[in-house]
Amino acid sequence: MNNNIIEIKQLTKQFPVGSSFFTALRDIILTFDKGEFTGLVGPSGSGKTTLLNIIGSLDTPSKGEAIVLGKSISKLTHKEAAQLRNRHIGFIFQTFNLLPVYTVFENIEFALLLQHLSAGQRKKAVMEALEWVGLTDKAKSKPAQLSGGESQRVAIARAMVKRPELVIADEPTANLDSENSHHILKTMKQLNRDLKVSFLFATHDEKVMQYLDRKIILKDGKVVEDNVLEAINL
């Protein structure tokens, strides 16, 4: 086994637009190693979200291949893709996307419920995840009672609670102020270091850049730059 967790080969993604196609990603070739903290950067419409969705097994390539954790995304059945997400991939969104009727605890617990873990195991894992993000006292709160920064930290805990190999974060700081952005980036960086989880971002945010140890620039669906950076050390 090598160290690479994502392998993208000649990946093209086209969306039907009227009677023709719009090419959102064109011949992408990329590999990601375990433990990376990488950002996809580029102007709006450059294809960042599209690429993340494919890596996250929410969408499939039109041409080429995306192999994530040893599985070819285009060959997965709907159920297998769900299984891959449930066990191995965590998601963090720009708009937090917590389920409003459930408490912080229940939001984080949900993924474990799908894994049929016992109540005791679930409680232990959820409380541990809340500790990582420093929100153990908010376990019983509803999402509406949280600030934006707290909500995003809950979302991080939700992504992390199942101990995934990969966390995909699409513009995680776009709805946060500067202080909260730095806070959550530090949290993610720590988790990346301590738990060896790979993080893959899509972002415009300059604040994010200083935390990245690799930056891939997309433009019009193509990779135009791919640089290893000297990231801040915490």
């Binding site: 969705n53 709907h78 891959l84 009727v101 459930y102």
Partner: protein, 424 residues
């Protein structure tokens, strides 16, 4: 997982309130209308049984052919041996003799001259035997408007409408003119002991009820009767039991080639009561069907709306690794939970309302004034054991069907599309 769904339903009112209200109303109406219609049909059938058809009726073959004309020349003979025979052979039923007759009711003035006259329908029933239940069977005591039941021979009850029309009061005399069994003229004078109103126009128009013995006397019908009626001792008409009596009686005692030989008919065979019996039987099924249909459509639409509002939730759950089949399944579980909650609420309210209508009923007699069918005056509901569970059929079928249809739209959507809706 069920707990997770249950919390969602309880906490998110928009997800549960409307469907629960719809289910409750539907179940409420199903229970109430089933109970009420069942009550009405049962009362109607009972009333017909009590006044006219019995559970089993025995008449001569010839009488049966012209029953509407009350041809007493074709009446049953030898009832003094027939009735004891029936009691012995078919002890599961009570057997009573009745005489029906048509005639003219004449109201004399002080001098014995005719003051008023009108056609009347007459009934001779057993008032005098101590064990006779006939007066209560015809509900005479409760239908009395003035006066009392006959207490001795020579007294009669007339309908109140008739009494009003001819200004007759209890204690007045009336003379009945009719014809005897062998066609000669018959008349007898009675003292009116009371007046009754049954609430059924057909019965109330003009009738006189006298003691069976007086009728025999007047019409020369010793040991004869227009009909012998059998009432099952359970008090409830039952096809199987009635058929058994009829078949057994007809094979033993009825001779198709002798028009004076007796023949037994069940309640189902008379006055097109078969139809009503079937409706009473199937009322719950009919109501359930109607409400399953109506509620499914409402719930399907409200489910679609709720589903649209919840695209975000489904998108998140997909991202968290739930598969669509599982999401679909949880929607069905939700439907079942909502169906159960709504059914319980609807059934409780429905049973309470049915109970009220069972005890009190609604008086429609003014609306059915000109109806010639024998209808009960007050429409009462009837609580039957099935009312306690029938609500679950429309309640559960409609919610599950509604959610299944609504969920299908979501199920068919592409993961990426559902997910994309997260971002807006």
């Amino acid at each position: 997982m069920i707990q997770f769904i249950f919390k969602g339903i309880i906490r998110d009112r928009s997800r549960s309130t409307l469907p629960i209200i719809v289910v409750s109303i539907g179940v409420f109406l199903t229970v109430l209308l089933s109970g009420w219609m069942k009550g009405i049909f049962t009362d109607m059938i009972d009333m017909n049984a009590n006044f006219s058809t019995g559970h089993v009726k025995i008449i001569t073959r010839a009488y049966a052919e012209n029953e509407s004309q009350i041809p007493n020349d074709l009446a049953l003979l030898g009832t003094d041996t027939l009735v004891p025979l029936l009691q012995k052979q078919f002890p599961q039923a009570e057997w009573v003799e009745r005489i029906q007759f048509g005639g003219l009711l004449d109201v004399p003035d002080k001098n014995g001259e005719t003051r008023a006259q009108g056609p009347a329908f007459g009934k001779g029933i057993d008032f005098s035997s101590p064990e006779s239940k006939e007066a209560s069977r015809l509900n005479i005591q409760h239908s009395l408007v003035q006066g009392t039941l006959p207490t001795k021979r020579g007294e009669a009850i007339i309908t109140d409408d008739f009494a009003k029309r001819f200004n007759v009061k209890p204690g007045d005399k009336v003379t009945v003119f009719g014809s005897t069994m062998d066609g000669s003229m018959a008349f007898k004078t009675f003292i009116v002991s009371g007046t009754v109103r049954f609430g059924s126009t057909l019965l109330d128009r003009g009738a006189i009820i006298i003691d069976l013995a007086d009728a025999r006397d007047m019409l020369d019908m010793d040991n004869a009767a227009s009909e012998v009626l059998g009432y099952l001792k359970t008090g409830q008409y039952n096809d199987e039991e009635a058929n058994a009596i009829r078949d057994s009686f007809n094979t033993k005692y009825s001779n198709p080639s002798d028009e004076f030989s007796p023949v037994a008919q069940t309640l189902r065979q008379q006055n097109s009561l078969g139809q009503y019996l079937d409706m009473a039987e199937n009322m719950s099924a009919i109501m359930t069907f109607i409400f399953v249909f109506a509620m499914s459509i409402v719930l399907w639409n409200s489910g679609l709306l709720a589903g649209l509002r919840r695209y975000t939730e489904y998108g998140i759950r997909l991202a968290l690794g739930e598969n669509k089949g599982h999401i679909y399944k949880t929607m069905i579980y939700e439907a079942i939970l909502i169906g159960i909650i709504g059914t319980i609420i609807g059934s409780i309210i429905g049973l309470a309302a049915t109970y009220y209508l069972q005890e009190v009923g609604l008086d429609f007699s003014s609306m059915t004034k000109n109806v010639t069918m024998m209808l009960p005056p007050v429409y009462k509901a009837k609580i039957t054991p099935e009312l306690f569970y029938i609500g679950f059929f429309p309640g559960l079928i409609a919610t599950v069907l509604g959610n299944a249809l609504a969920g299908f739209a979501i199920y068919k959507r592409k993961t990426a599309r559902l997910f994309r809706e997260l971002e807006v």
